[in-house]
């Protein structure tokens, strides 16, 4: 079945065909010149939704994080470019195979380019500091730690250096809405605080301090306050500038390989 689905591309792409198993397409256009061509295509065909920097816009998702929500392989990206994504604004882009593969090459480079280059801090010192400063009480890394704050396992792929540094030095500067907390008093006198998980016109979903998942209708609420401040203590005040550089270097090294 898969062979039928991809047969359209077989004439131009390098193919490993096995009559008994799946067919995998490899990207035949991966040189530096291909990447430049891919960038040209990206700027004309993709940037209006994904941004010129590829970091998303509201309409298109962030393509620089090292992982793609809907594709794990080059072939997967190639297929999305050619077919679009049903149910979303992502259309099929009309490109010849060569241009589509070159675009894949550029997308791969885009996601690897972030935070590359030498950093002033020492990632090993940063890792040690992360352990001793109690950060894991709230932040999970490689499956260990709390979940009040963001999972930092691959934070280096998702955030720019300047954002990492700012988050350590001034945690209040930008708190993503998925980490906002709430304080609720119900009309029958119950009070809750917790992590706000979801909300619509009629109801709010949250995880209370005991870890219990709760959903309340707004009609039940006497008071509802969204706490947008980060609960993160101000390490910037206690840390030396060098410590911040070390932590930043370590977080930047936490990338999807």
């Amino acid at each position: 079945m898969l062979r039928i689905a991809v047969s359209f591309f077989l004439t131009v792409a390098a193919v490993t065909a096995d009559q008994e198993s799946t067919v995998t397409l490899e990207n035949p256009f991966r040189t530096a010149a291909d990447r430049v061509e891919g960038e040209r295509t990206f700027l004309s065909q993709c940037a209006s939704c994904h941004g010129r920097d590829g970091r998303g816009s509201g309409a298109g998702s962030d393509l620089t994080t090292g992982t793609f929500r809907r594709a794990s392989s080059d072939e997967g990206l190639f297929q999305i470019i050619n077919k679009g994504i049903p149910g979303t604004g992502m259309p099929a882009i009309q490109l010849d195979s060569r241009s589509a593969w070159q675009l894949v090459t550029y997308l791969r480079a885009l996601s690897k380019s972030r935070n590359s280059g030498a950093l002033p801090g020492d990632p090993a010192l940063g890792a040690a500091l992360f352990r001793t400063a109690g950060c894991s009480g709230c932040h999970r890394v490689d499956g260990v730690g709390g979940d009040t704050g963001p999972d930092l396992s691959f934070i280096g792929s998702r955030r720019a250096l300047s954002e990492l540094k700012q988050s350590i030095a001034d945690p209040q500067a930008a708190v993503a809405s998925e980490y906002w907390r709430l304080r609720i008093l119900t009309k029958d006198g119950r009070s809750f605080t917790g992590r706000r998980l979801n909300e619509d016109t009629f109801s709010v979903q949250f995880r209370d301090e005991s870890g219990m998942l709760r959903s309340l209708t707004k009609a039940e609420l006497a008071k509802y306050e969204i706490i947008r401040a980060s609960p993160m203590p101000l390490p910037g005040a206690k840390l030396a500038a060098a410590d911040i550089e070390d932590l930043t270097a370590w977080l930047a090294s936490r990338v999807i390989k």
């Binding site: 209006s48 939704c49 099929a92 009309q94 809405s177 979801n198 909300e199």
Partner: protein
């Protein structure tokens, strides 16, 4: 009246027969939903009143229809004598029993590789005349389909889809013609409207939305910019039989966000066109956003109403535009009667006495980005507004306090490819991307907004936590039905905006509700997610 309704709904076993006279009188036949917009006046208002404020709490789910497609489900069904006709992406037409949801037949149109419908491989519905359905496709064809059996009668290709054209809207039948228009304004097309003979599919007239050299309006395009001028048709037009004028909203000029390459007003982009329905000749036009810099298509249903206007009865058109202004026009002459912002906007200091916006310099796209209200989806978009002749109010799904940061860059035109010349960053996605919604309302929220068309002033507001891409329906019992991105479908009091009933359907609503009768019982249908839901009153 009730006897007539009963007779028509009992006639469910007969093949659909919808002579033109029935389309003309659709407002008097509320047991059926005979055109995309309900009637030629496109008020999305029904004379049905059996579901009302006192019994709406008994609305219960009767049946569902599951689309076999993961595309956005933007269909508005027709209902004719107990048979429902709807479309599913990309280009299937389905006939089913409006009482139970059981399908009678499916017509599947096979698309070639390489069709490029901007913004989703969707279709919004069909039209009917006599026993024939009319359906448009992404490969730029118009099909006539036998309503009895789903067999194709004729097929006409209106343009080469490889040039970036696609057709997505429900056609409009007027007399013996079916009128369609083309999308593709993000791919450097030149949009047009075409009327085809309903019997043969032969083209009778064509109106070019982007005029060619020597035609009136071409001088509103600097240089050769008209060649890729855009001007899509995304949505079904309206028709006034007394004036014999058909009204259509036109799309943005191309490239969307680099206006420097197309100096001038860029006619007839972002206009409402009033065309003679027999000849396609332009009677008048009104351009909402001359020299558009933000992609604010006039992608709305032209709502026609007859109002007492400063002491005299007047044939008007009500239009809440993507550019954030609400307009009242005289639909016989195109005269501008009133214009008011209906959501926050920062691009114009107001409208002049002719209705032309007085633009504020520096609010268009720039190389470094310009933050402007409203954002790219506009103050409202393609989902149907409603006008109730009973309340005299105009209702619209509004995007309030919503902005975008508009970027411009250079782009060369290549046939069949994206040609937009910029991009927009916004804190709110144009359509739902996640089942989790945590953002605050400071980046915008949707509201069902009731406006007094005589003043443009807000009468009431029903704000929601997230955005909405749902159309509206009002009824003679003064209910207003709508849905939203959150997945709710609900009924408000059309006079006060008070919430009367709601159901959580989970899938986002990107369609407009309709209502009709089955065996004398009122039904309400809405597409949400990939499913069509039909509700009716449960027994007490």
């Amino acid at each position: 009246m009730k006897l007539l309704i009963l007779f028509l709904t009992l006639a469910g076993a007969l093949p659909a027969q919808v002579p033109y006279s029935r389309l003309l009188d659709a407002a008097k036949d509320p047991g059926n939903w005979l055109t995309y917009n309900g009637t030629y006046f496109s008020q999305h208002y029904s004379a049905l009143d059996r579901i009302n404020a006192s019994n709406v709490r008994r609305l219960g789910l009767k049946w569902v229809f599951q689309a076999q497609s993961l595309e956005k489900f933007e269909t508005t069904p027709l209902v004719v004598d107990g048979v429902m006709y709807l479309t599913e992406a990309p280009n299937n037409v389905i006939a089913l029993d409006a009482a139970t949801g059981r399908p009678f037949w499916t017509y599947e149109h096979r698309l070639p590789e390489g069709t490029v419908p901007c913004c989703g491989r969707i279709n919004r519905g069909v039209a009917i005349l006599d026993g024939t359905l009319f359906h448009v496709t992404h490969d730029a064809k118009v099909l006539a389909i036998d309503a009895k059996n789903g067999r194709k009668i004729w097929e006409t290709t209106v343009i080469d889809y490889k040039q970036g054209y696609a057709l997505t809207h429900a056609p409009l039948v007027v007399k013996d013609k079916v009128i369609v228009g083309t999308a593709g304004g993000e791919l450097g097309i030149r949009g047009f409207l075409a009327a085809l003979d309903v019997k043969t599919g032969k083209e009778v007239w064509r109106f070019k939305i982007i005029p060619e050299p020597g035609e009136p309006g071409n001088d509103t395009w600097g240089g050769d910019s008209w060649k890729n001028g855009g001007g899509s048709i995304w949505l079904t037009g309206s028709y006034d039989p007394e004036l014999n004028l058909t009204y259509w909203g036109t799309g943005n000029p191309g490239p969307d966000w680099n206006p420097t390459v197309r100096p001038g007003d860029n006619l007839y982009s972002d206009c409402v066109l009033a065309l003679d329905a027999d000849t396609g000749k332009l009677k008048w036009h009104f351009q909402f956003t001359p020299h558009d810099e933000w992609d604010w298509d006039a992608v709305q249903v032209p709502v026609l109403a007859d109002l007492d206007w400063k002491g005299a009865r007047r044939k008007v058109m009500l239009w809440a535009n993507r550019n954030a202004f609400f307009y009242v026009l005289d639909r016989a002459s195109g005269e501008f009667l009133l214009g008011q912002p209906f959501v926050k906007q920062t691009w114009a200091s107001g409208l002049d006495e002719k209705g032309r916006p007085m633009k504020i310099a520096g609010r268009g796209p720039s190389r470094e980005g310009t933050k402007t209200w409203p954002g790219v989806q506009g103050g409202t978009n393609w989902y149907a507004p409603s006008f109730s002749p009973r309340t005299g109010l105009f209702y619209v799904t509004a995007w309030e306090d919503y902005h975008g940061t508009y970027y411009m860059w250079d782009q060369k035109f290549e046939q069949g490819k994206w040609y937009v010349g910029g991009g927009v960053k916004a804190p709110v996605p144009p359509t739902k991307r996640d089942r989790i919604m945590t953002r605050g309302t400071e980046d915008g929220y949707a509201a069902v907004r009731a406006l007094d068309p005589r003043t443009g002033k807000r009468v009431w507001d029903y704000p929601m936590a997230d955005m909405s891409e749902s159309g509206l329906l009002t009824t003679a019992s003064d209910l207003l039905f709508s849905g939203n991105r959150e997945g709710h479908f609900f009924a408000l009091d059309a006079r006060s905006g008070k919430m009367l009933w709601s159901r959580y359907l989970a899938g986002q609503v990107i369609a407009s509700p309709i209502t009709y009768l089955v065996n004398g019982k009122q039904q309400v249908a809405i597409a949400a997610g990939h499913t069509l839901f039909v509700f009716a009153l449960e027994e007490e």
